[in-house]
Symmetry: C2
Subunit: 359 residues, 2 copies
DNA sequence: ACACGCACTGTGCGGGCTAACAGAAAAAGA
DNA sequence: TCTTTTTCTGTTAGCCCGCACAGTGCGTGT
């Protein structure tokens, strides 16, 4: 038998009493405000050292009665299911904190246009944000902007990916190298040792995949493959973003060229392109590995045309990014800096238990 | 570009003004307290219908200034790592809510003794709890106790497992049938089609495994096996709880009797018994599947003697159980009733990202 | 001696809410 | 009709904290 209690609450009033000063003076000491004599400060600090004072953050927020403005800088996406989930998380976190005066403004930059990032970032600064959520674009422009934020003492958190030499308040994302490695392990376990050619499907635009995360997953995957299956060929099927009409033909051509291939993997969130193709063409014995719990992928999981997905928890990334800002800025709590999302493997059996916890 | 705001706060004072009564009357209407004339009630309710009033729960809790007592009824365990994690979650949830006057008392019952459950449960009632966390024991005694709680209007949540015909405030646990099914899928994918005998290790006491959860996982697993691998024999290795000295000898005997077995599974949290045996005896080509992220299992994962674990998130179960009680009782929020823990597959590559979120 | 500035300290209001209390209105009784 | 009782309503103190404002005491200058 054991008991826990919320430590019997010590109030400012108690500290004042025990140190023989008034609450006003205690308040000044606590907030490092001027106009406190050395003698008074010593007395109060002596008491503070003895006890472990934890201010009532809710009463504090109530009295402080300040409005907070958060801003979020996201890559542009036309209702891409993945980023929509991120936004939903951001939104929900604000709404769940209804009793604080929070507002969040989100603006979008073009992923492939450096100027667009700079422009949008600057425009958000005009809102005089108290904190920011940033999805990094290219290294240098992101670094520049973050240094500006640091100069203005505006805390910021990185979402999705990070950028070197910059210390954000917090980071939320996945370790994409490890993710690719993990994918390789599971994928090849299913394929078996005797398989010597697999398909890697890539969605590209101007010879580039849509995100750094995808690039890194592939690096991790290929490291695993050369380490464990050096004789297995990775045959690439490259589809152009936006040219949906061509996909079916290109897949058919690929499969005709490589009639032995039965195992496919993609590091994009669009495994469903292949999954749906397999369904439409009644190809039963193909195995498919992809990323992200978006609706079309889930449908394929259910129907058996996708075997595995790795979840990235976009909702959680959004929710927790804002939560970190809130905890740091409003509640003045300490926040953990690095938060790697779990590498969660989803199948037809377990995907229904993939949840977002806080509603 | 879009914006979210915490909806511009409407206060009791505003409602009072708009309905031409005082805050006292509004308060009485909101809390369904007596001594309100029909006329006044109508006016206030009309205003409430128009606007969407969301009281400031923190100001409310502050003013209400009440102490809350929660009680928790757990199975006895001598520092069993799994239940310790549950307790750690319970504790952390209380501590994180330091600004409310919460206390939690935990008592233990003997898993194999019905009277012990009844006795301990009754003893907790003397604390006059405002809410309870219950880990069910046998169906009828659990049902009896829960009916008593319902009679006293004490909300309760089930942790770990549930009990039929009883509607708890909330339930936190894993779908153990599905879990066994999922385990079977992954386990046999690794084993491959040609394997025709596997080992199932069971820890028993008086012919029973330690929990209903373990029984059900086995049922799910066997369903999967008869459905997909009817020709694969499941050979059981049964170890007696407490007789650690015998384990090595019994394992050796089993392996001598079944020299072809290379794939082992257990539904207990003690896969490490086999893992450590393999390590000590330098048996490299064995594959092992188990449950729970306890320290000794993690060590085996790292060293490669365990391939897979399914996590049950005991910390989260504990944390969220108390959180549900708190949200319902203190904040008067609605809470979701069924919370199934994710069926998370852990390997050497991804276990470090298994987290508990809220510190 | 007094006025004045300065450093410091205590008091009190307000943030949104609850609950106790006092006071007004309505209903009941004589 | 006037009291008494009951029902209803408004006001206010208090939950804990932050901050503005009004003091208090002390030293300096004239």
């Amino acid at each position: 038998m054991w008991e826990v209690h919320s430590s019997d609450k010590i109030r400012i009033k108690d500290i004042a009493q025990r140190s023989g000063v008034s609450v006003g003076t205690v308040d000044r000491v606590l907030h490092n405000r001027p106009n406190v004599s050395a003698k008074a400060r010593d007395k109060v600090e002596a008491v503070l050292k003895e006890i472990n004072y934890q201010p009532n953050i809710y009463a504090s927020a109530l009295a402080y009665n300040k409005k907070y403005t958060f801003c979020c800088l996201l890559p542009d996406h036309d209702r891409n299911a993945y980023w929509t989930q991120v936004e939903e998380g951001l939104r929900q976190c604000i709404l769940n904190r209804n009793d604080f005066h929070l507002s969040l403004t989100t603006e979008y930059y073009n992923q492939f246009d450096r100027q667009s990032f700079i422009r949008t970032a600057r425009s958000l600064l005009e809102k005089k944000p108290d904190g920011m959520v940033v999805v990094p674009q290219e290294t240098d422009v992101t670094q520049d902007f973050c240094r500006t934020l640091q100069g203005l003492h505006i805390p910021f958190v990185f979402l999705d990916s990070s950028v070197q030499d910059i210390q954000p308040l917090a980071f939320f994302g996945q370790d994409s190298l490890k993710s690719g490695h993990f994918a390789g392990r599971i994928f090849m376990m299913q394929a078996g040792k005797e398989v010597n050619r697999i398909m890697l499907m890539k969605l590209m635009s101007n010879g580039r995949v849509a995100s750094r995360q995808q690039e890194n997953r592939e690096v991790g995957f290929r490291q695993y493959m050369t380490g464990h299956y050096p004789d297995c060929e990775v045959a690439e099927l490259i589809l152009q973003i936006g040219e949906e009409k061509e996909y079916a033909r290109q897949i058919r051509t690929f499969l005709e060229k490589h009639p032995d291939v039965r195992h496919c993997i993609t590091f994009s969130s669009q495994a469903h392109i292949l999954g749906e193709y397999f369904q439409e063409n009644h190809l039963q014995d193909f195995h498919l590995f992809g990323y992200d719990m978006i609706e079309r992928n889930v449908e394929c999981l259910k129907r058996g045309s996708i075997d595995f997905l790795i979840a990235q928890h976009p909702w959680k990334q959004g929710y927790n990014s804002v939560k970190s800002l809130f905890n740091h800025i409003v509640l003045k709590k300490e926040v953990q800096q690095y938060h790697y999302m779990p590498l969660e493997l989803l199948t037809a059996e377990n995907y229904i238990y993939y949840t977002t916890d806080e509603k």
